[in-house]
Symmetry: C2
Subunit: 134 residues, 2 copies
Amino acid sequence: MTEIADPAVTLQRLRASIDNIDAALIFMLAERFRCTQQVGVLKAEHGMPASDPNREREQISRLRSLALDAELDPEFAHKWFTFVVSEVIRHHNTAAESAGSDAAGAAESAGPDAAGPGASAGSDAGDARGPQES
Amino acid sequence: MTEIADPAVTLQRLRASIDNIDAALIFMLAERFRCTQQVGVLKAEHGMPASDPNREREQISRLRSLALDAELDPEFAHKWFTFVVSEVIRHHNTAAESAGSDAAGAAESAGPDAAGPGASAGSDAGDARGPQES
């Protein structure tokens, strides 16, 4: 009991910060989706390869380094990245199915079942190419 | 082939945006961890209950609403929230083990195996109470 402030008030303050941060995260995730969707369209329009293993390796390496700078567990950052990418791919695959496309075949190697670190290595999953990339 | 710009340049531009957004996300996640760790300490110090189902229900409902505003799939937002929370809990449980504590028992119902939407309902997982809360 070393705190002077009412713990309920402190809890309320911390939860308000968590809520603000979560809102920021949701809006940044939405913006990330907008970018990856544009990448999907671009690659489809210009016949660019869906897979770019070097790109993903660089992304993971960079995010782990940034996590260390931010005092965030780099393993968490790695798993978080893989989760987001696999969800984006799953989302795009669902869209592809409803559009009657069999695209994103290479993407399936980093699908929703492969959420562990490194599971999606070998695909340019960081761009989350969409169904347009058949 | 309706684009005027070099597609490689456009891809580079989009990837630079994705990289910026990912950096922002990592730093915001780090800040979220700092808040949830403080919540864990606060609850432990004051014997406050670890579980608060109403709080988590409100968080999920709010994030789904924000996702709609941002044109992000609310199911993705929901799964993302559950993933982050379960990882925070896993991280804290690991810390608890190394500290010789058997804390966070209630948290296990929303553990790393329960990554689906709704899987963590019933616990105040949004605060990710730490090992201090035994």
